[in-house]
Symmetry: C2
Subunit: 208 residues, 2 copies
Amino acid sequence: MSAFQHRPQREDSPLDQLIRALASLPGLGPRSARRIALHLLSRRDTALNHLTQALTLAADQIKPCNTCGNLDVTDPCRICAAPDRARGQICVVAGVSDLWAIERTGAYRGQYHILGGLLSALDGVRPEDLTIHKLIDRVNGGTTTEIIMALSATVDGQATAHIIADRLNHLPNTAEIKISRLAHGIPVGGDLDYLDDGTIATAMKSRL
Amino acid sequence: MSAFQHRPQREDSPLDQLIRALASLPGLGPRSARRIALHLLSRRDTALNHLTQALTLAADQIKPCNTCGNLDVTDPCRICAAPDRARGQICVVAGVSDLWAIERTGAYRGQYHILGGLLSALDGVRPEDLTIHKLIDRVNGGTTTEIIMALSATVDGQATAHIIADRLNHLPNTAEIKISRLAHGIPVGGDLDYLDDGTIATAMKSRL
């Protein structure tokens, strides 16, 4: 893709390279990439160099936690290392963004385990592509009392939760471990009229 | 803004810095910035390092053309230097993105002049904040035969076109220079029913 799209692609200028690199980011297309490239080039010190420094710093310092898979500047990450967080609870999430979403609520003060995705027959994601074995090792060697499945209420999410529960049930110390999942129901502030039938039916079945 | 927003802001981690740098780009907010940061960190070689290199290369090599203000790796830019483009025509645009938009059409083979914005009473942009004086110098010293005002059909765009035309009319060689503007009318493929009254009235007045 060239900024001048009618021209033959005889060369790939630094500007085209920048626009293409930006356009490959999630949620951005050629038009927004061009807009961002112009914004960066017209504000070199405040925007372009600042972003370059932030990217370099992030590439140097941020690494995945060997225990849970979270991204942090330390390994183990600040959540795994926090002395005031429950050691026995492990919340299983698909990715770091789900961990962030739960952390923003402040409603959970235990550990996490990041799977690195969800099982998917369509995308060819198999159990060995996820960090399920690492979770089993953690539970096997540790003092886990509860596994909380915080996975999407989709077919893939529920299949993943099922596989994990199945593997956990084969462990020797399984009887002491409670396996729970996030409650399904009506979102807070949700209007009944706009919710799908499945959610309403689940909320009715799980009524308190 | 922190990825963990409930936490006190005791420190600004490299991750938070990256997210903030991304969120300050046009069209991006905290949510899309978090998504892009995770995308970059989970694909270091293909995405993060690639983007860093593209930014560094762009910062090193892309500079504004001293003649027209276009961004390119050479100065004068490839458009100003092209031997096969009409020297006498100067198309006046507000920014580089407008130049790109016109270049993509392939309908124009002359020179450009980039104003660096539009006059705006609200934003406090005065004539001396734009490159109007450089345009006057170009016209004064050169062999210009036509100035094409390719400015937005907004109050700011028309005020800017008016000021430029006024200054051009005070030049000694003004009689030989034609001042034109982009035609107003119904966009190609435009549905009359969805167009505003101003556009339809202008199109009716300018009927061919």
